[in-house]
């Protein structure tokens, strides 16, 4: 369980904080979707729970332990997997090598198991021949699937995604939604997705909207 306590954040000397005293909890086996207007601070919020940045005030706890105590690098390495809108992959290697890199860097259980990675990629329609090509030769949708598979295969229990379908068509978006649901329901992870896409927002288990500096759980 990921818990956000009394989180307050503002940038620089801006007169008004992005949000004050946010208290939220995220459980495993669930897909959370966060919606909100542009500039409301969604990405900023994700960067805190992903351990990429620190809020001005407040704490984040993972199963009762403050993530400050875990250390940001350690937290990212073992606890959280991140999927961005684009540029998720190392461009100088194949899809397979990207996954192998992630397994190795995160010291995951399935580290070094090529076949395991290939099977997972095949499940999302990426055949071996595609998996061994340089990732830049894959389509945007394929690349995004690789990034999600990567989040799936590493040991991290929390998967955070920032507009993962941002530049994908409807067909691809549907496939991605399905994958995120799998992550939560079949792989027992906590999935937190920021999105503009109402299709995705409605397919989450819990929908949170960020309006007027408030997180409102629907």
């Amino acid at each position: 369980m990921l818990t956000v306590k009394n989180l307050t954040h503002w940038y620089g000397k801006s007169e008004k904080p992005l949000y004050e005293n946010v208290n939220l909890s995220f459980e495993s086996d669930k897909v959370y979707t966060i919606v909100g207007s542009s500039g409301s601070g969604k990405t900023t919020f994700l960067s805190f729970i992903a351990g990429l940045d620190k809020p001005q005030k407040g704490d984040i706890f993972l199963d009762g332990t403050n993530i400050k105590k875990l250390g940001a690098t350690n937290y990212r390495k073992h606890k959280v997997a991140i999927v961005f809108q684009q540029y998720n992959l190392l461009t100088y290697m194949s899809a397979l090598d990207n996954i192998m890199t992630a397994l190795s860097v995160t010291d995951s259980e399935h580290k070094g198991e090529k076949q395991y990675a290939l099977d997972a990629l095949k499940n999302v329609g990426i055949e071996k021949s595609d998996a061994e090509k340089n990732v830049q030769k894959l389509s945007g949708g394929q690349q995004q699937r690789v990034a999600i598979i990567r989040a799936m295969l590493v040991d991290a229990n929390i998967v955070i995604a920032d507009e993962p379908t941002g530049n994908l068509d409807g067909e691809n978006s549907k496939m991605i939604i399905k994958l995120f649901q799998d992550l939560a329901h079949a792989h027992h992870k906590t999935v937190i997705i920021v999105t503009h896409d109402p299709e995705i927002a409605d397919h989450g288990d819990v929908k949170i909207s960020l309006e007027n500096c408030q997180f409102v759980v629907a």
Binding site: S47, D53, R76, N88, L90, T91, Y92, T101, L103, V105
Partner: protein, 481 residues
Amino acid sequence: MNYLKRAMLYLTHKKGQSLLLLLIMSAILVFVLSGLIIQNAAVSATNSVTKSAGTTISVSANRNKMFSKMRSGTSKSKPKTITTPTVSNEKIKKAGKLNTVAYYNITNTASVNASSFDTVSTSTGTSGGGMGMKGGASAGDISIDGVSSTKLTSAFVSKTNKIVSGRNITTSDVNTKNVVIEKELATQNGIKVGDSMTVKMTSSGKKSLKLKVVGIYKAKSTSSSVPGSDPSNTIYTSYTLPATITGTEGKSSTVTYILENSAKEKATTKKIKRIINNSSFSVSSDDASYKQLLQPMKNVQSFAKKIVWLVAIAGTIILALIIILSVRTRQREIGVLVSLGESKFHIVAQLFSELFVILIGAMVVALLLGSFVGNKVGNQLLSQQQTTSVSTTSGSNGGPGGSGAPGSSQTGGGMRGGMATQSAGTTSAANKKTLKTLNTSITPSSVIKLGGMGLVIIALAVCVSAISILRLRPKDILIGE
């Protein structure tokens, strides 16, 4: 998939960029290597000059002592003749066997009168006057210069005299009457190699000596500093003959020892002094000219050192800038790794590994090109240095002769000048061989130095760019689109 594998994947994927970096690094290393090669070559050339050319130690009559003896002689009623002090050949040989001595040259002189031939006279009048002035019982019109070997004699070493037919006088001519005469003297009297000629002693009942001509030399300068004696009238023999003529068999008056290694100059001088053990002799070393010859080497050495440093610093700056730029274009890639939880240390290590692989490639290129470039640059440098040093040498030699200070006689000045030229001549010719070319081969130590320099350069460059990696805030890497 650790950072080493990632580095290899990166290099093979970005072939063009890797190749470009390889070329830049190779260029830097070629310069560093040529600097190292030149430096190395200059150092070893300096050492070999120090070893081979060496210092000369001359054992000759102690002039002060001779003159004071002469003065004390004149105070008594009977005028004494100045006898040149001699030392036994055994002692000379014993000193010559010191292992720091490379070789030595014994010199004895005597004066005789031409008998079966005519002397060469330079100009009218002067010749006669000179003879008259010299006068006395001991002066003749032919000077016999006895040496161990003409090859080692300064006039021949400096190429003032040159054998044009026949052979040199060597140590095998000891106790013979074999001679080498000047070309002019030979032509004037129709003497050829293999012919005989007779001279008459100036004392000892004017005994005749039959000399056998084994070689003919040509003297470059026909003018002499001592009026009245034409250099053509100098006959070279083995050092034993003048001793026989002056009645000092088994003894000699002057020896020059040439050292194997100039570094041993002081110790050897001491040892020779102890062996000669005669206060009438002065044992003195002369390494001024050798030091002067080393100057071009030293200049090349320090220049090479500057090249190495300059290129290393410039190379570090260039590489660091390139790497910093490439790190900027690699922000996303770094961001992906950071978001996966890769430590920044490993990211820097990957960068270093990539550069290390390129460094190895660049080393190979540099080693292939470096010896070529080093060779060209090094010898160019050396020839430039030599021209300047030659002009300074001649300048300084002219000095003492010309600057015969007011009061001192013209001849005195001339003599000192002549002596300076002579002593310089003994060493410089030997050096010329070693100084002409630099041995610019690549030694294992220069390869190690190059590798070390390369490592330091990439380490510094990576460190500088690491600062920019470490300063990247993870969120900015990913979100700052």
